[in-house]
Amino acid sequence: MIDKNIPTDLTAARHLTEEVLSLADAAGYSEDDRFAIRLALEEALINAIKHGNKFDPARQVRVSADVGNEQTTITVCDDGAGFDPSAVPDPTADENLEKPSGRGIMLMRAYMDEVSYNDYGNEVRMTKRRCTGLPHLAGHN
C-alpha cells in the first residue's frame, strides 16, 4: 500500500509510477495489466501536475495505491480548482485528432475497469481488476 504526497514534479511522478509497478510486478500482474496500470497512473499524474497544480511547486499531489491480489485501486488528488471530466471533448473525433493533448481521460477509462471523480473534480479514483484481454472503449467519454 502506498499513500503519500509527492511534489508537483514529473520526475517525482515517474518515481512514484516505478514504485507502483514494482508492487504490481511483485504481485505477479501480467505485462498487459502492468501496461494498463502504468498508462492510467501516468495520465492521472500528468493531469494532476499540469492541469490541476499547473506546475506550481507550492502544490502537492496526493497518491494512494492499493495493489492487491485481485485488483489495484489508485487515487490521485491535486490541489487545483478541479474540472468537469464530462466536458472534455472526445479526442477520437476527427476534428480533435490533431490536437496534441486531451487523451488522458479517455485512456484512463479505456485501460482501467472503473474510473470516477469526486464532485470537486480534483481527485480521480481508478480500479484495475487483475485480468487478461484487451482494454475496452465502451463509454470512454
Binding site: A26, E31, L97, K99, P100, S101, P135
Partner: protein, 119 residues
Amino acid sequence: MTDSSHNTPLKMDVTTYDDAAVLVITGSVSISDADRLQEKLEELAAERTPVIVLDLKEMDFICSAGLGAIIVGHLKCRHHAGQIRLACPAEAVRELLEMTCLTKLFDIYDSVEEALAGE
C-alpha cells in the same frame, strides 16, 4: 525486478538519408521524456526532412504526452508537406494507436524499409 525494467530509459538514434530520416526510439516515452521526443522531431522537421520514419520496434511504452509529441512533429512536418510514418510498433503500442484513432493520422508499416518506400 529493478526499477529500470519498468522504465527503460528513452534512447533515440537518427539515421539520415537523402530525402528521409529514420528515428529509432528505444525504451519508454514516459511523462518525463515526452519533451525530448518532441524536441527531436521538431529538429528533424526544421531540416525540412520529407519523410521521417519512427522505428518503434524497441519502444515498450508511450504515454499521451508522447503521442502528443508525435502529433506536434506531424504538424510541423506539414508546413513543408513532409510526413511522419510509423514502423513496427509493439502490439501494446499498436493497440494504443488504434484506440486513440491515431492510425487515421499516421500510416503504420511492418518494416522500416516499407515505411521508407511508403508501400
